[in-house]
Structure formats: structure tokens, C-alpha cells
């Protein structure tokens, strides 16, 4: 039975000439798990909002949307609010009330149920989603993953027939994101709930999706089973976000079934290829040390735990060093120590060979340290990007201001964004602008805190390119991230931060191929055959290099 359908829908935002959606026609069957993908700006979010009348944007609209065969504009308010659930991207912003129990009850209160009924529903939700222990807590004290789970639960409390989610995991760390997607799968298989989702992490959702829809410039260019889509859109830019197994498969011309999961990918490699090896090359010249931590200790409270406990770290000039680690392991704290925002209570910090312990914050930036924070929009405090740039030039006394700004905006491809407000930009764009602002002071050491948060696959590729460019200008980059795939692509060396110390550090190929769990999906897929391959490029180069592949069966 079809539950949602769109007939020939076009939509144009006011004051714009281009269509955000262009003659989209699609049907969603009851119980389907549909993944909607496309590059940023392709109209994904606009399409999702068309399904939920309360938040449909203003603009010129033609065509129709049907819910269970009835035009969506004709169904009554209660049904629309109750039966179509919507979860937004940012976990923090969609929480309305201060207590978890109140948040869970919010939708049911709106629908006018009595306390007895609400009590039962709320209890049911808290149990199903495993958040009973949080029931009396304040919402502000939850972690990002818990917040998003709460948002999901409070929508589910209204018992919707369709659940629509707009990039729900983009702000979460990989572990919480995985949990969240597993919960969605459970809702789909256990309750038969229809789910429509946009998502960056196609790796996690393709294997569980029934259908994939791909949008490109407002047009629906493909809609079908994941495996078919993967083959169909081999060359399309959106394929950058496909699961690693698919990307490896697409680089060959083998015509067996397209693998989606790590397991299928591994079978595919094992069946088709012989043993090959990537030579590990350590290209970093270990001559000059840019940043060094010597047995640094740090804690936030007098009687608290040591976040940094005897941390030792050496980063060489001109390398890109990645620090990986779980939530709350102290990665960001390390970065704050290096940037001078925090000071260790024991041990020392050296920058370019100078001991920095007692130096003020200004001295750190004079030594060439600059930090890109986790939320890049906090870099901007003016209504236009360009005004912020000019302000920084004044503060730092940058000479040849206009020329410098022109140079940087040119090389980062952000010339057209200069007159915009930071909140009008997409995640990737804000980040590029923020990076630009930081580069104005001409830093020699750049610290990045979770640079891939909220950025799609295509954005990650262009970010990686940009970072390589910045590095090639002789700068040192230190990245702190959860994102193993990204760090495998960009880093010269990787390290794991755990229990207050930097554990192992080595080139990504070595680092990830020795790790069994904390590693990239390519490494998991290829480890039997392609020794030391950790990125798609590694695997593809081995496939190309090997020339003929040997099929085991022959």
C-alpha cells in the first residue's frame, strides 16, 4: 500500500529563479526504508519538508503530495501532526523543554491527551528507547547522542505512521550515530514503520535501506534498490559517499552482484584478487619539531580526574598529524592546551622549540598557532564574512589587506560568499570561510577540531584537497577527529588518544592495518588480500596495478 506519494512536484523559493525541486514524482510504500541522497543544495531537505505540512517553506509550488491517497493539504491538522513524524538535523535545537519527561510528553500534550494516557505512552517510549534512567534528568545534561535519541523518542510517542529524518546523525560521533541508525532499523523491522531519511553516512544506511532516491539540482535522477543505484550512478559525484565496498567494486569491471556491506566486500575481494601489498612510506622529514608536549597533566577541577595524564606528543614541521579517539577522551582538551586556551598544571608545551607554559594567549598566536573550532560559525561575530576578515586584519596588523584577502578567498573558492551572513551558508561553506579567516594571520601551525562534523562525502573530499594545499605551503596541521575514514585520507601520521595519553603513532597505512576494530572499512574489507590498504584509493591503485585479476574459480 502506498503511504506517501508525490506527483510532478516543483518548488521555487521566493526571490529565487532556480527551482529547488523540479518535477519530482515518487511513491513510498508502507513499511519502506527510503534513503534520500544528493549533494548539499540538491533539494533533499526541501523535499522532506514537503511531506510535513507544518514546516513546508513558503514559495511557489506546483504538483501534489498525497498521504494515504489524500492530498496532504486536505488532511486535518491533528492527523498531520500525529501521523507524520519529523526529526531534525541538530539535536540541541529541537529540544523544547528543560526536563526529559516533559520533552517526551510535549507532542501528546499538543494533541490534547489526558495525563493517564500520556503517562502510559511516555513510559512505553522511555523503555523502548532505553532512556528510562534519564527520565527525570535535565535535557541540557544529555550527550549529543542521547539528545537525538530523545528527539526520536518524543516524535515516536505520538505514534506516527511515517517517520521523516533530516540528516539526524550528522552532528553525532560515529558510535552514537551507529546506535541511532540501529534504532531506526529496529523501528522499521519491528514496528513496520515507514522511514524516509537523508543521510551523509551512506555506509551505514545503504545495507538496511529498501530504496534509495537520488536528487541532483532538484531533480529525482534515480529511485530504486540500493545495489541498482550503486551501479547506475557509478560516475555521478554522489558516488563519493557510497559505501567503500561499492566504490571498490565500481572501480573494477567485474559483473557479479554489487557488494554493500563490509562482509560482502571482503568476499568480493577474496574471490577475485590475489595477495598484494602497499609499501609503507613514512614521508615526514623528522627534522624540526613544530609542537611538543612533554609529560603534560591537565584537569578541569581540583578534585577531578586527569584528562591529560602525562601526555607526550611530538609533531614535526610540515606534517598533518591526526589524533583519533572516542568521545570525552581528551582530544579537544589537548588541542586547547596546544592553542594556549588551557594550561597544563604539570609538564610543558613547546612550540617551535620555545617553552610556552607561562606565555599569554597572544604569544601563542604570534608563534603561529591558529585553531579552527568544532563549530566554525563561532569564528564569525559580524553580519558579513568580509567584515570579520577585515576586523581580523586590523587586530593582527596584516599588511596588504585586500590583496591577502583576495588571495585566500581565491584559493579556497569562497569569493562569492564574502557578502553573505555566516548562518546562510552550508556546513562546508562556513568551514571554508572560517579556515580562510584563520589563514589571514598566516599561521604556521593549524589546529582543527572535528573538521568533518556535519559535512557530506563530497565536502570531505574538497576539504581534504584544501588541507593538502595548505600543508604544501609549509604549514603543520594537527587534526582531532572521530572520523577514521577522513584521517586515513589526509594524515601523514595518526595517533590514538586514550586514558590521557597519545598511544601509538604511525603512518595511516600502518596504524589502521594493525588496528582490528578502530580502523577504516576499506581496511576491514581488504585486509586478507591487500596488505596495508586503508583507503579506497589504496585499494583501487592495487587493483589497477595488479592488472589482470585472478578468479579463484578458474
Amino acid at each position: 500500500m502506498e503511504i506517501l506519494s508525490i506527483k510532478n512536484l516543483s518548488f521555487t523559493y521566493p526571490m529565487l529563479n532556480t527551482r529547488a525541486l523540479d518535477s519530482v514524482t515518487m511513491t513510498v510504500e508502507q513499511g519502506d526504508f527510503v534513503v534520500l541522497c544528493g549533494q548539499s543544495g540538491s533539494g533533499k531537505t526541501t523535499l522532506l519538508k514537503m511531506f510535513k505540512r507544518e514546516i513546508t517553506p513558503n514559495g511557489k509550488c506546483s504538483g501534489e503530495v498525497f498521504f494515504k491517497g489524500e492530498p496532504i493539504k486536505d488532511i486535518d491538522d491533528r492527523t498531520s501532526a500525529k501521523k507524520i513524524g519529523f526529526v531534525f538535523q541538530k539535536p540541541e535545537q529541537q529540544i523544547v523543554t528543560d526536563k526529559v519527561w516533559h520533552e517526551l510528553a510535549f507532542g501528546l500534550e499538543s494533541l490534547g491527551y489526558d495525563s493517564k494516557y500520556i503517562r502510559l505512552r511516555v513510559g512505553e517510549m522511555a523503555n523502548y528507547f532505553g532512556i528510562s534512567s534519564l527520565f527525570h534528568r535535565k535535557t541540557e545534561n544529555l550527550s549529543g547522542g542521547q539528545k537525538q535519541l530523545l528527539n526520536l523518542a518524543s516524535v515516536m510517542a505520538m505514534s506516527p505512521d511515517v517517520l521523516i529524518l533530516d540528516e539526524p546523525t550528522s552532528q553525532l560521533d560515529p558510535i552514537s550515530a551507529g546506535d541511532f541508525i540501529a534504532t531506526l532499523k529496529r523501528l522499521n523491522t519491528e514496528l513496520g514503520l515507514t522511514i524516509i531519511l537523508t543521510e551523509h553516512r551512506l555506509q551505514d544506511v545503504f545495507p538496511i535501506a529498501d530504496k534509495v532516491a537520488v536528487l541532483d539540482n532538484g531533480k529525482l535522477i534515480a529511485y530504486g534498490k540500493p545495489r541498482e543505484i550503486c551501479r547506475e550512478l557509478k560516475k555521478h559525484p554522489v558516488s563519493a559517499g557510497f559505501p567503500s565496498a561499492v566504490q571498490i567494486y565500481n572501480s573494477t569491471d567485474i559483473s557479479t552482484d554489487c557488494p554493500l556491506t563490509v562482509r560482502e566486500g571482503r568476499d568480493f575481494i577474496n574471490n577475485n584478487f590475489s595477495k598484494r601489498k602497499i609499501e609503507i612510506r613514512d614521508t615526514v622529514p623528522k627534522t624540526e619539531i613544530a609542537v611538543e608536549l612533554k609529560d603534560a597533566f591537565f584537569r578541569y577541577e581540583k578534585e577531578g580526574q586527569d584528562i591529560l595524564a602525562g601526555t607526550r606528543l611530538k609533531v614535526y614541521k610540515g606534517e598533518h598529524f591526526s589524533i583519533l579517539g572516542g568521545n570525552g577522551s581528551g582530544k579537544t582538551t589537548t588541542l586547547k592546551i596546544l592553542s594556549g586556551i588551557l594550561k597544563p598544571y604539570r609538564g610543558s608545551v613547546f612550540i617551535n622549540g620555545q617553552k610556552m607554559n607561562r606565555k599569554p594567549l597572544t604569544e601563542y598566536s604570534r608563534m603561529g598557532i591558529a585553531m579552527l573550532p568544532q563549530n566554525p560559525e563561532t569564528v564569525f561575530i559580524k553580519p558579513k564574512i568580509i567584515e570579520d576578515y577585515i576586523e581580523l586584519c586590523k587586530i593582527k596588523g596584516v599588511e596588504n589587506r585586500d590583496k591577502k584577502i583576495a588571495e585566500i578567498t581565491e584559493s579556497l573558492g569562497i569569493k562569492g560568499l564574502m557578502d553573505k551572513h555566516p548562518y546562510d551558508l552550508s556546513g562546508g561553506e562556513v568551514q571554508r570561510c572560517a579556515l580562510g579567516k584563520i589563514l589571514l594571520a598566516n599561521p604556521s601551525i593549524i589546529l582543527l577540531d572535528e573538521p568533518t562534523k556535519g559535512i557530506d562525502a563530497y565536502g570531505k573530499i574538497s576539504l581534504a584537497k584544501m588541507l593538502n594545499k595548505i600543508k604544501s605551503q609549509g604549514r603543520t596541521i594537527i587534526t582531532v577527529t572521530h572520523d577514521v575514514e577522513f584521517s586515513a585520507i589526509v594524515s601523514d601520521r595518526c595517533a590514538l588518544f586514550f586514558d590521557g595519553d597519545v598511544l601509538s603513532n604511525s603512518v595511516p597505512q600502518e596504524f589502521f592495518s594493525t588496528n582490528n576494530f578502530y580502523t577504516t572499512s576499506v581496511s576491514r574489507i581488504c585486509r586478507d588480500r591487500f596488505i596495508n590498504a586503508v583507503t579506497v584509493d589504496d585499494a583501487v591503485s592495487l587493483i589497477k596495478e595488479g592488472g589482470q585479476y585472478e578468479n579463484k574459480n578458474n
Partner: protein, 298 residues
Amino acid sequence: MENRKISGFNTLHPAVLFTYFVSVVIVAMFCTNPVMLFLALIGGVSFFGVMKGAKLFFQDLCFYILMAVFIAIINPLFSHNGVTPLFFMNGNPVTLEAILYGVDIALMLVGVIYWCKCYSEVMTTDKFLFLFGKAVPKLSLVLSAALRFIPLFRRKLKEIRSVQSSLGLYEKKGMINRVTAELKVFSSLITWSLENSVDTGASMKARGYGLKGRTHFSVFTFRKRDLGYLICIIVLVGIVILGMSMGISDFKFYPEISEFNFGLKQIAVYISFGILSFIPFLSELWEVIMWKYSASKI
């Protein structure tokens, strides 16, 4: 406040708690009888003590003892009523009555402060909202949303400040530079919160906010035990107020200190108020004993 100690009195229904606090505080504020003020003070202090534990309790107590002494000294310096001058200062008499009245006021103030402290410990915002939300449902939601928003705002302010200081915003010294820098940060914070509220609004709308017939859910239920407490409180406070209005517990300091009367009527009022002030403490104590007893069975 996340891991509040669950106690006996705390778990009563908000309506009972509110009635209780209002009656005790009002009686304490409108009476001058030292016996009753003393009872109120000891009741409040002991309740606070059980709730917060010995360490915090003593830290606090020292401060309030000093305050009480201060008030007791201040009064005779300004008030020269009374018939028993003890000595003269700058030609003004310092009277025994004024000193004792100062002590009395100090008792009252410290007592009321302790009760207010207990009130803010026990009557958390969600309880308050529950009570008054029914009358003004919109207001209660606004308050709840505000309580959610304030910590968010504070955290963002801290974040922007830290980022901007590493970008050198606060580098220039001097008051004016400092203030303009703060203003810039603040204005960007306002933009952020507007942006934020758009998202929150969409999330509210998506969950049916604005539909007719919104109800008000709470996690509190009125049980038999609550009824018992409520009746107790009303009866006791009724006796006390009746006594006060009949002038039974009247006590005067000026011009001459009244004598203490311990007639039957007076004792009835004192005992009623004594029980009333010690209800929370006793119920906590009862809870501890009950728990010990039932734990010994487990």
C-alpha cells in the same frame, strides 16, 4: 541538582509542599512571639541539616549566626524605645527592650531565610510549573522553554568567547576595547539565539504545537499520604492562625516586654506550631527509621 537525595518530605505532592511552605513562612513573618520564632528557626535549620548533610550545613550556619548577631546589635543603635535603659551612647539610651527585640527580629529573619532555602531545595521549577501551569498553560511552557534555553545560551557564550579570544578579539587592553569586544560577542550571540529559536519553533510546530485543546502532563500524583499530610497541615495551621487572631500568642517588646504566658491556650498554639515546623524533619527521620527497619528485613 541532578542527583537530589530522594527523601520522604520531598516526594510529597507539590500542592501539599506549597501549602506547607506558605503557611510556615507566613506565620513566622507575622508573629513576634519569641517561642514560636524559635520553633520555626529550629524546625527550618534541622530540616535543612538533614537535607544537605553536616558539612554544608555547618558552613552555612556560621554565616547566619554572624548575621543574627549583627542584626541584634544594629537594632538598639537605632531604636531607643523601651523603659529599661542599660547605658547611654552619644546621649541616646540603649535599652534592654531594644536589644531583645533585635534578637527577636534576627530569629525571625534567619528562620525565614532557612525556610526559603528549604523551599528552593524542595520546590523545584517543575513542581512550581505543575502547580501554576494549569492556570496559565502558555506561561508554564514559556518558563520551561526558558529554563531549557538559559543554560544553552550560557554555554554558547562561553564557547564564542573562548574562540574569539584565541582569535585575538580581547588583545587590545583598556576598558572601552574590552566593552566593545563583549558587545560584539553578545550581538553575535543574539543572532545565534534567533537562529536557534527558528529551529525550535519548527520542532514545536512539527509536534502539533498550536492545535486546539492542549493538555498539561505532569509526573506527580496525589496519593492518600498526601491527603493525610495536607489535613494535618491545615488543622495545625488553623489552630495557630486562630490563636494568633485571638491574640493568644501576642507578645510585645515596647514599651515594656510582655511576660511569658503558659496557659492552656498558649501551650496549644505553641505545640501546634511546633509540630508544624518539625513536620519535614520528622518525616525525614521517619523515612530513615523505616528504611533501616525494612532494610534489616531484606
